[in-house]
């Protein structure tokens, strides 16, 4: 092995292995390269999903047909939902930043099963391709919404099968990532890194990985049953054959509610990393944050019924689920309080990642608190399946996971690419984005309370006002996002080179390795003595 290609001192970006060119990436088992593969795939589909969202908002700017018919609109929100949920936010943070930083943060050279890791990415891409075929083959794009509710999902002539099957394959990919992470965390922590000396981002990945392992098979079998129902005519959920459509909803949400915590937990982990670093202060209540993570993962498994408050379930089930839903809100509240307390008496360094983190707390609070409105029986009956729900989940999925993603991207960018982005543009992009975001989604709460149902291509004139503001907000936000990504993409290729190991003054292990990291991450595996956030000296 020539010296310039030594695994210990060559950056993972420059390392030349067995393959050349593109193959050096798509066949690489290096966790860092796999992380970037996910990042690029997600960016591509994220732009598709965002454009679909924008088209929907443009359609909704006025009642009646504006730029499309109902068929197109239904196909749009279905594809938008599938892309955003199954392709972006469910794999999202674990697949990109988890892959890249989990091994480094716990002092390992790679994940436990590198080849399985590559397989996950391949399955993910294959799943995406299968989903995409649904758009072009057969009897038109699927029009069921991302929830595939029975019996509509097997009565519609549209091409539902590939979408369902693609989601199934992606679920497999998600399970493999989860297995990989749990084993990595159990077996590969650096010497001295006890469970309670592990940083919080790995902790949240650990909780997430368990949900991925224990919840994803549920959606797997549910989707398979739809396939069996459509393809073979086996009656499982079809009321004409005695099936119970509500049982389908149970199965769907047994996965999909825990899935929302798959989306948010890693985001909370990112925020728990960023806040102490930019406050120059150890995190407040480390153990409380860890425990609340595990509590969310566990209790979150038993609240699925809050999506079905008007489905015709028994009354007793309704108030049980409502009660459990309120319990699961508490650990999130604990986290918010701890983050804010971390800032108390800190020495706050206002940089782009910190802007994202602080605005995360704000929008997450709005999303979470409106979740409480949804969790309460009386109010849910009124706002269920209205734009209030749409606003809630955009605030918390997009505002939570999306903001955390942007925060992570701006925080770890210099480490990942060995280049720095332009701070001025980044902050400007954030500002425009933040304003547009609130203009886009805030009016939806009021529309929902007024009674505008979701998945409505057309609406009564009463709802016009809020929709105008909301649609304009979408355009403002998209200008912000263009600035942000233009800045990042340009900087990844032409930005100022940096080899500074620790630009923000972080204390976790990823800030002690080379920038960008070498192929093997560590020349020598470090031994850990202190907790992860020791800012005092």
């Amino acid at each position: 092995m020539s010296d310039s290609n030594n695994a210990h001192n060559v950056s993972y970006l420059d390392y030349k292995g067995q393959y050349k060119g593109l193959s050096a990436w798509i066949f690489s088992t290096d966790h860092k390269r796999i992380g970037l593969l996910y990042l690029y795939t997600m960016l591509a589909f994220f732009s598709v999903g965002a454009i679909l969202g924008l088209l929907m908002k443009t359609e909704l700017i006025a009642p009646g047909a504006t730029i499309m018919g109902p068929k197109a609109y239904n196909a749009l929100f279905t594809l938008h939902g599938i892309i955003m949920i199954f392709i972006i936010v469910v794999p999202g943070l674990p697949a990109v930043f988890g892959n890249f930083f989990l091994p480094i943060m716990i002092g390992a050279k790679d994940v436990a099963f590198p080849r399985l890791n590559l397989l996950s990415w391949w399955l993910y891409v294959i799943g995406i391709l299968i989903v995409l075929t649904s758009q072009f083959l057969g009897d038109g794009p699927p029009d069921t919404g991302w929830t595939f509710y029975a019996p509509y999902s097997f009565q519609t002539p549209a091409n539902v099968l590939p979408a369902v099957f693609g989601a199934f394959v992606m679920g497999f990919s998600s399970i493999l990532t989860g297995i990989n992470f749990v084993v990595t965390i159990h077996r590969m922590r650096a010497p001295g890194m006890t469970w309670f000396k592990m940083p919080l981002f790995p902790w949240t990945l650990y909780g997430t990985a368990w949900i991925q392992i224990l919840a994803t098979p549920v959606i797997g079998i549910t989707l398979l049953l739809i396939v069996a129902e459509r393809l073979l005519g086996i009656g499982i959920f079809d009321p004409a054959l005695g099936g119970d459509p509500i049982l389908y909803q149970h199965l769907f949400w047994i996965y999909s509610h825990p899935a929302v915590y798959i989306m948010i937990l890693p985001g909370m982990g990112v925020i728990s990393e960023i806040i102490p670093v930019f406050s120059k202060k150890t995190i407040f209540g480390y153990k409380a944050i860890v425990l609340s993570t595990m509590a969310i993962a566990f209790v979150g498994y038993f609240v699925w019924g809050h999506h079905m408050f008007t489905s015709g379930m028994s009354g007793r089930a309704l108030y049980t689920f409502s009660f459990l839903t309120f319990l699961v809100a508490i650990p999130s509240a604990i986290k918010v309080f701890n983050w804010v307390s971390t800032m108390h008496k800190g020495s706050l360094d206002m940089q782009t990642p910190f802007y994202w983190a602080v605005s995360f707390i704000f929008v997450f609070m709005i999303g979470g608190l409106t979740g409480l409105v949804l969790g309460s029986l009386a109010t849910n009956v009124h706002v269920h399946d209205t734009h209030f729900v749409v606003a809630h989940f955009h605030y918390i999925v997009f505002g939570g996971t999306g903001y955390a993603f942007m925060a992570a991207l701006h925080y770890w960018f210099p480490k990942m690419f060995g280049r720095m982005y332009d701070l001025g543009w980044a902050n400007l992009g954030w500002g425009i984005f933040f304003i547009g975001f609130n203009a886009l989604y805030l009016p939806m709460f009021f529309l929902g309370m007024q009674g505008m149902p979701r998945r409505y291509y057309d609406y009564l004139p009463d709802f016009h006002g809020g929709n105008i503001i909301s649609s304009l907000g979408a355009w403002v936000m998209i200008s912000g996002i263009i600035i942000i990504f233009a800045n990042l993409i340009r900087s990844a290729r032409h930005g100022k080179k940096t080899t500074q190991k620790n630009p923000w003054g972080g204390k976790t292990l990823e800030w002690q390795v080379e920038t960008p990291p070498t192929l093997e991450n560590f020349e020598e595996i470090p031994t850990i003595e202190k907790g992860p956030y020791h800012f005092g000296e």
């Binding site: 019996p151 009321p239 009956v381 399946d385």
Partner: protein
């Protein structure tokens, strides 16, 4: 917020006020604290951070207080919701039928309407049926919503309107192509007016005056029953075959697995409406159109036939 018009409005609104009030308190409070910190502990003003590991006392406090508050929210939600499930024994009973993509309401005396007519200050009990897929009946002004699930027996909702007027009624469970057009109105009337309307069964049989334009009546019927959601009048295919030029043609169909041709005549139209799956137009799917038996009378089918004929002119 939508101004309310039923007995549930108060309970639901109270829950809203309680939850949103507390939420706003925390949202505004925490946001102000963050802004204060951003200012007060900015690097410039506070160059050296003070290290604080945490405080068990605080953790307990901010577990207990929110816990107590959310229990309050649960309670208000429960109290506002409970009466919705306590269906009274006495009241006006109406059966709501949902299908892609229209509602129809059947009264105890057999009257069938497309709008929901109810008397003010009287309990109304609605039995919810769905023929094809899941729909949901939502009246924002009454704060009620319940899914209409095919195959689910004994699914009911009730309410007591307390203000005369017309209110929107939506389908809020996504049910396919024309889901967003599946809405109608509730008409709340003075009891006297309502009972007069109720017993006025003349409307059940359409009074066909001498010389009335039968085709036009047929057209109105086809429009109001929602047929046009699936059948176009311009030759294009939506979900079912177009009505344009259909009359008198020979239709290739599949009957019990056998392919054959039938003439598109009065008998065929009747069969198509009452037993749509008996003859399946080739290239279309069974199970899309559901029978209108009991919803469209034979007399009305005659009008539809007149209308279909008129399309050939």
């Amino acid at each position: 917020m939508n101004p309310g018009a039923s007995n549930f409005v108060e309970g639901v609104n109270n829950a809203f006020i309680f939850i949103i009030g507390i939420s706003l308190f925390f949202l505004i409070g925490i946001t102000l604290v963050i802004i204060l910190f951003l200012y007060r502990y900015n690097k410039k003003r506070h160059p050296k951070a003070v290290q604080i590991e945490g405080s068990n006392k605080l953790e307990v406090i901010w577990t207990i207080i929110p816990l107590a508050l959310v229990m309050g929210m649960f309670y208000y939600g429960y109290v506002g919701w409970k009466p919705m499930k306590r269906i009274p024994d006495e009241g006006v009973r109406i059966t709501a039928n949902a299908r892609m993509w229209s509602f129809s309401f059947t009264y105890e005396n057999g009257r069938i309407t497309e709008k929901l007519y109810v008397p003010v200050d009287t309990a109304v009990i609605v039995r919810l049926n769905a023929l094809d897929v899941v729909h949901s009946l939502y009246i924002p002004a009454f704060r009620v919503k319940e899914d209409m699930v095919p195959g689910l027996a004994n699914n009911q909702m009730w309410f007591q309107p307390n203000k005369v007027g017309n209110y929107s009624l939506f389908c809020t469970e996504y049910c396919g192509l024309q889901h967003s057009f599946m809405h109608t109105e509730v008409v709340v009337m003075e009891p006297a007016e309502f009972w007069e309307w109720y017993s006025d069964t003349t409307a059940v049989a359409i009074p066909i005056e001498e010389g009335a334009d039968l085709a036009l009546l047929g057209r109105q019927l086809v429009e109001s029953k929602g047929c046009l959601a699936c059948h176009s009048l311009d030759g294009s295919t939506i979900i079912g075959p177009s009505f344009l030029g259909a009359w008198g043609s020979n239709v290739p169909v599949v009957t019990n697995g056998q392919e054959r041709e039938v003439a598109f005549d009065e008998a065929y139209v009747l069969r198509s409406i009452y037993e749509p799956d008996a003859d399946i137009h080739q290239g279309y799917r069974a199970g899309q159109m559901f029978s209108y038996q009991g919803e469209i009378t034979e007399q009305q089918i005659e009008l539809i036939v007149e209308f279909l004929k008129s399309l050939n002119e």
